[in-house]
Subunit: 217 residues, 2 copies
């Protein structure tokens, strides 16, 4: 029989596709091999185990979220970058619910013993990116003074918690209603975190992504 060579990247691509379709159970070494026109043991030239493949999938998920977030840096002011980052986070979670939940799923759900350092780092990096947006907004007087890390974590927790409840089906409402509830809940929380300057400026940002040409290339 003919033999064909294979790239690590192709395995990961196939794994991501299978994962999005069918979760951890949808990813099997034999299945990936079949997809790629190869036999299972060949995959072990590139990955030591299925667990290592799954690490790659989770890493890829973080990479895609990072891609969504990165665009927020093009915003002209700290407050716009803050808002765009929040919107990007929300959009990623709603566009790719399974990948989103994967990033917070706990190692045993992904067939891992512990969270690999690589994955933990990526998780912390998301937090750092967000906290940087918060820091800017404190410096520019949009948010009340305080530790950017602690304040940022409060907001991150709120956003992730709400998304988690929604994606899990605990909030049985359609996506459009959820986006409204998300905004309302965010605003409720911001009463304690924003300054008057924040309140004044926030309303003017409703159409920022339409106005800012740099963000719709």
């Amino acid at each position: 029989m003919l033999t064909m060579t294979i790239r690590r990247e192709d395995i990961l691509d196939s794994a991501c596709r299978c994962y999005v379709e069918g979760g951890v159970a949808g990813v099997s070494m034999r299945g990936l091999a079949r997809d790629l026109g190869v036999t299972a043991p060949a995959l072990y030239r590139h990955f030591a185990s299925k667990e290592e493949v799954m690490v790659g999938v989770v890493s890829e998920a973080y990479g895609r979220l990072a891609g969504y977030l990165h665009r927020a840096l093009e915003g002209p002011t700290a407050l716009v970058r803050f808002r765009l980052a929040g919107e990007a986070y929300l959009s990623f979670a709603l566009d790719h619910p399974r990948l989103y939940l994967t990033m917070y799923a706990g190692p045993s759900f992904l067939g891992m013993q512990e969270i690999p350092e690589e994955v933990a780092q990526r998780g912390c990096a998301i937090g750092r990116f967000w906290n940087d947006r918060v820091r800017e907004c404190i410096q520019d007087g949009y948010l009340k003074p305080g530790s950017p890390d602690e304040i940022g974590t409060t907001m991150w927790a709120h956003a992730h918690g709400l998304l988690s409840l929604y994606l899990r089906g605990v909030l049985p409402i359609p996506e459009e209603a959820f986006r409204r509830e998300f905004d309302a809940s965010f605003w409720r929380m911001m009463v304690g975190l924003g300054t008057t300057r924040f309140d004044d400026a926030w309303a003017g940002l409703q159409n920022v992504d339409v106005e800012s040409a740099a963000l719709t290339p």
Copy 2:
């Protein structure tokens, strides 16, 4: 060989123990059967599939959380019940991290196609219990007026989100530090949700569980 009969309850007990120890992968029909001194096909008299066993495990997790929460009803005032419910929720999550994460894990992580109605109901019930505590506090003037469901969801999201980040390892701090950060973050959020009456009464509640004899039976 001698044959022995088996109860559904025993299977579930064993399944919960195995699950807490090793996650979904730690639960196998053959393993459970071995634990119970029986062969695997015998289990299928009580459960149609492994998936159904896992539904039982998740249900059990919800039941245990409900047990934690139920004690909060013994508090003498709405604010005390509110606080005790919050503490119970936090304690359950920190005492049983794997069971806690299970309740929000998404069906595919538990080997299910969809969230069974039974599980969804239990999830909503937790929300309703909490929202009832919020409703009481609004009525008694501890929380600002508004929809109890929406305000309750905001707080639930914050608590779950923070716990989720911590249990996932995104906040690399010891449990004691996390409890402090949780309190601080909760307080930050409550600036926008509580009344002056809440602010005044909250400090006096720090030792409520020591003082209230009904809660340490």
